[in-house]
């Protein structure tokens, strides 16, 4: 027998959990101002996320999926993308979205039960949150096909979770993207858990990055709690895709420090020690350590920034709270470019009963 093909999966880490460099510093990270920008973004995400969970707990928000622990993956990817690229998120990646210009008030509006939160002022061409698992990977491939056909030097980036890699649509997207060398990057945020199901129960595969192999595209694993590594790996993949070298699959290893959503109780199926251990590896810790060693960040700056974050979040919450309940017309107005006849009648019915219905 002879070997006809061989594959290997590489793992990239630049910043250790202790905040030490374990690989050469990427070019973008030689600029402390840029690193601080990422750190501030990651901190803001955490403050906002904590507030969002509290809003849900106090009945001011619907079910909300926390992104606690995912800040490096999300912000690193946001920073790696160009504004003209497009994002196909799942529903947890607020760090990327905020970096790209989505506002906290928009995020709250969506999770507060109002579709107008999807109508981002910026970025206009990004996809909205995608609740049906894995379906967004094909949208990203389709958008990449559009960029290719129209000869636009842009990329699409699709997120997916570890659980989502069990869905057929994910493999179909990888396959198509590989076969057509599409300018798309798929990022699996492997946070260990799909609600209550651990990765080992989803697949016998040693890594999720190796799912790329069957599609004939590069697959790489990265420390998803290391914002330097995430930004560098994703940035390289995007630039390759942009110059026509085709897609890539990146597995970012992180941990879901929160429940799946506010509707979930992870203590039913996950041991406390595992979560405790994961806190040692969380992304803010190591970057803060790195920055303080570089003497560009200290406790006073941290305190001042956290206060500023709280003010920004409070302002966003106030903006969200001030948005009126949508009118019943909102159900109809965006259903078609022009509303078919029978729906005019239903719109009137909804107005009539909508006005009466408060509290029924």
């Amino acid at each position: 027998m002879k070997t006809v093909a061989e594959f290997k999966i590489q793992y990239r880490q630049i910043l250790s959990p202790g905040g030490e460099l374990v690989a050469p510093l990427p070019a973008f990270a030689s600029d402390h101002a840029e690193v601080l920008r990422m750190y501030r973004a990651m901190t803001l995400v955490r403050v906002f996320d904590t507030k969002s969970v509290n809003l849900q707990r106090t009945g001011q928000l619907g079910t909300y999926p926390s992104s606690l622990g995912h800040e490096a993956a999300h912000v690193g990817i946001g920073a790696a993308m160009r504004p003209e690229d497009i994002l196909a998120p799942v529903y947890r990646e607020i760090g990327t979205q905020l970096w790209r210009g989505v506002t906290m008030a928009e995020i709250l509006t969506y999770w507060g039960g109002d579709e107008s939160g999807n109508d981002f002022a910026v970025p206009r061409q990004d996809f909205a949150w995608c609740v049906p698992i894995a379906t967004q990977t094909l949208h990203a491939a389709g958008a990449a096909m559009a960029f290719k056909v129209r000869n636009e030097p842009r990329c699409a980036l699709a997120y997916i979770g570890d659980g989502g890699t069990s869905e057929g649509a994910f493999y179909e997207a990888l396959n198509l993207a590989g076969a057509r060398a599409l300018p798309v990057v798929f990022v699996i945020v492997n946070n260990g858990w799909a609600i209550s199901v651990p990765v080992a129960a989803q697949t016998a595969a040693q890594t999720l990055a190796q799912k790329a192999i069957a599609a004939g595209i590069p697959g790489v694993q990265v420390d998803g709690n290391d914002v330097f590594a995430v930004r560098e790996v994703v940035g390289e993949a995007l630039e390759n895709a942009r110059r026509g070298a085709g897609p890539a699959l990146i597995e970012a290893l992180t941990y879901r420090l929160s429940d799946h959503t506010t509707a979930d109780d992870a203590s039913r199926y996950r041991c406390a020690q595992e979560v405790k251990d994961a806190w040692q590896l969380e992304p803010l810790l190591r970057l803060r350590e790195y920055l303080s060693r570089a003497r560009v960040w200290d406790a006073d700056q941290e305190r001042a920034w956290l206060e500023e974050c709280a003010l920004k979040v409070d302002a966003a919450v106030a903006e969200y709270a001030a948005r009126p309940k949508p009118s019943t017309d909102a159900m109809f107005d965006h259903l078609f470019a022009s509303l078919p006849g029978h729906l005019h009648e239903q719109r009137l019915t909804a107005r009539k009963y909508g006005a009466k219905s408060s509290g029924h």
Binding site: G62, G113, S166, E167, Q202, Y269, T349
Partner: protein
């Protein structure tokens, strides 16, 4: 109601070792609504299995298991996520008996939450039963109380053919009732008359039975005696019970949460037009969700039929 569903699972698994439960998060987590709570502890990981996150897997694997001796009771976590499973349901599960001329069959139950009203996120509030009712070869069942959930789920598991079992999420915790865990099934393919009346027939199912009964209490005060029928099995429809009622009352109002267009209500209205037109003293009325996307929760109660819309529709049948 959710406890009644867990009880029915437990009873049948205890008494039929071929019954297995599969789905996402049905094991240690006991289901996201707790409908399978405690089952994995009690019956082990072989009989209560978390599947990978893949609905086509759940439905397709159920076909394989059911054709070869097991009775899978599968959970699709939300009705909005059932679509990847439809290929297997439409093209295989529903046709297995017919296309093998009875050599193979598919005694599968697919349970899924149905409808809205609990402030859930997007794609978690759909009621698309009409899609399923259009598929020949499967039954579609929708209970409206804990006792009916218990009895109809037992009947569905025992049925030799595939059953789609739609569980109204709004009733999971809102409706409480003592259910005796005695293993007694309720019949499939028949309606349940929840309340007798002489002036108008209201046909409904799922969470809308609660709204309808509220409306009927109000109609009583206005001197209108309404008969309320819980359709329960949405396909096939027990039209005889409905026709008998309409023959008595002369009026028919159908209430469903799903959108009106090509809804199950349209089929009931057509059957009554075909077989009971001359019993009707007024046109049939439908009170339904609008033909829009189910809105996020800020507007979901504006989308779903409420008491006032039902009352007004009934009164219209007297104005005609």
């Amino acid at each position: 109601m959710v406890e009644a569903i867990a009880l029915a699972h437990g009873w049948e698994m205890q008494h039929d070792s071929n019954v297995v439960v599969i789905g996402q998060d049905v094991g240690a987590n006991g289901g996201v609504f707790r409908a399978t709570a405690g089952l994995q502890e009690r019956f082990g990981k072989d009989r209560v299995q978390d599947t990978p996150l893949a609905e086509a897997t759940i439905a397709g694997m159920s076909v394989g298991m059911a054709t070869h001796g097991l009775k899978p009771v599968a959970e699709i976590q939300f009705m909005g996520f059932i679509y990847p499973a439809l290929d297997q349901i439409v093209n295989h599960m529903s046709r297995m008996r017919n296309r093998t001329r009875g050599r193979l069959s598919c005694p599968v139950v697919i349970r899924t939450p149905h409808g809205g009203g609990i402030h859930a996120p997007e794609h978690h509030s759909e009621s698309t039963e009409t899609m399923l009712c259009h598929i020949p070869g499967i039954r579609v069942v929708c209970p409206s109380s804990p006792a009916r959930a218990y009895g109809l789920l037992l009947a569905s598991i025992r049925d030799p053919d595939p059953v789609m079992f739609l569980e109204p999420v709004r009733l999971y915790r809102a409706v409480r009732q003592e259910v005796s865990d005695d293993g007694r099934a309720l019949p499939l393919d028949v309606c349940f008359t929840l309340r007798e009346g002489s002036d108008v027939t209201l046909v409904t199912w799922g969470a809308m039975t609660v709204e309808t009964l509220r409306a009927v209490a109000e109609l009583d005060k206005r001197g209108i005696s309404a008969e309320v029928i819980d359709l329960a099995t949405l396909s096939p429809i027990d039209i005889e019970t409905i026709l008998e009622s309409v023959a008595k009352t002369g009026r028919l109002v159908i209430v469903h949460e799903a959108a009106r267009n090509v809804g199950v209500g349209a089929e009931i209205a057509a059957l009554v037009a075909e077989h009971g037109l001359y019993d009707l003293q007024a046109p049939v009325r439908r009170v339904t969700g609008y033909d829009t996307v189910v809105p996020l929760f800020k507007l979901e109660h504006d989308y779903m039929p409420g008491v006032q819309r039902i009352i007004d529709a009934v009164e219209l049948t007297f104005a005609d």
